[in-house]
Symmetry: C2
């Protein structure tokens, strides 16, 4: 889907010197581009027939919420620690320096749920792997992972090899 690339802005030196950031805000501000991406994500998700979309804060909320509304599938947020008000379960994961954590409400998924996880981008795969563990702690089945961008020079594939992953566009280098 390389026609989607024209909606994405490349921002040099963000978040730090030498990194080229693929900015989806220029896609979002253009409803034609945004809906083109959503149509393509929906095409993959509908085949998986999920009962819930698990959406990762914050950019995953944007794609996940629009898909949830148009596909009539429940939206389930995964958030940073301390943001979800009810009882949660959490999963820690390593960053380059230090660690981070993601949380999900403890009562929102169960063994009957088939889940597609939604985010904007796959890079190192660290956050996505932690979210997969969270969903599996809830005894739910992961039937797919849906994202917009694949940074294929970063190692998410090793971490997510047991899942079916869909993305719309790939970048080969920073």
């Amino acid at each position: 889907m390389d026609n989607l690339k024209k909606y994405i802005r490349s921002v040099p030196d963000f978040p730090k010197k030498g990194i080229n950031f693929y900015d989806i805000t220029t896609l979002l501000e253009n409803p034609t581009g945004f809906n083109l991406a959503l149509d393509a994500m929906e095409k993959f998700i509908v085949q998986k027939n999920p009962t819930k979309l698990v959406c990762i804060e914050s950019r995953g909320f944007i794609f996940g919420a629009a898909l949830s509304s148009r596909m009539n599938i429940g939206f389930v947020p995964v958030r940073k620690p301390g943001k979800l008000p009810y009882k949660t379960i959490s999963e820690e994961y390593d960053l380059e320096y230090g660690s981070d954590k993601v949380e999900i409400h403890a009562d929102v998924l169960n063994a009957d749920d088939k889940v597609v996880i939604v985010d904007d981008l796959l890079a190192t795969g660290g956050t996505m792997e932690a979210v997969c563990k969270l969903v599996e702690k809830c005894d739910s089945q992961i039937v797919g992972i849906s994202t917009v961008i694949d940074l294929n020079f970063l190692p998410w594939r090793e971490k997510l090899s047991k899942y079916e992953v869909d993305y719309l566009i790939s970048y080969d280098s920073e």
Copy 2:
């Protein structure tokens, strides 16, 4: 729209003792409830005929993104500091203790834009007031504010008196 209230969970003592938190995640996980809220927000927004929806991180992203897709109106994120990759303008505002800041991309709005601002909830109005100032710094016109919940025992009305505000449900006390 009090029929929406049955989808919203009340969580005592969050984020701190004595506060009753109105939890929209139970609305979001139910696509009937979520779309009921979106239909009602759309009804207000369509009358305002905006060129852009300015959506506040993170819960405003959820409602704003779904509305943007279904109404074919560009989605513009307002985020916490340091999250937007391109050139930004920012606005600081006071909290109970200390201050906080919101940012918008400097090039995304202009004098031709008519904006509806989208968030989940109106409480003290501090964040929303700062977002209004941001939009006006871009020389754009604010044609409405659309939210789900009004906490009518908190003072947002004084801060937003010059805008047309729509909300779907009101709570009279914590």
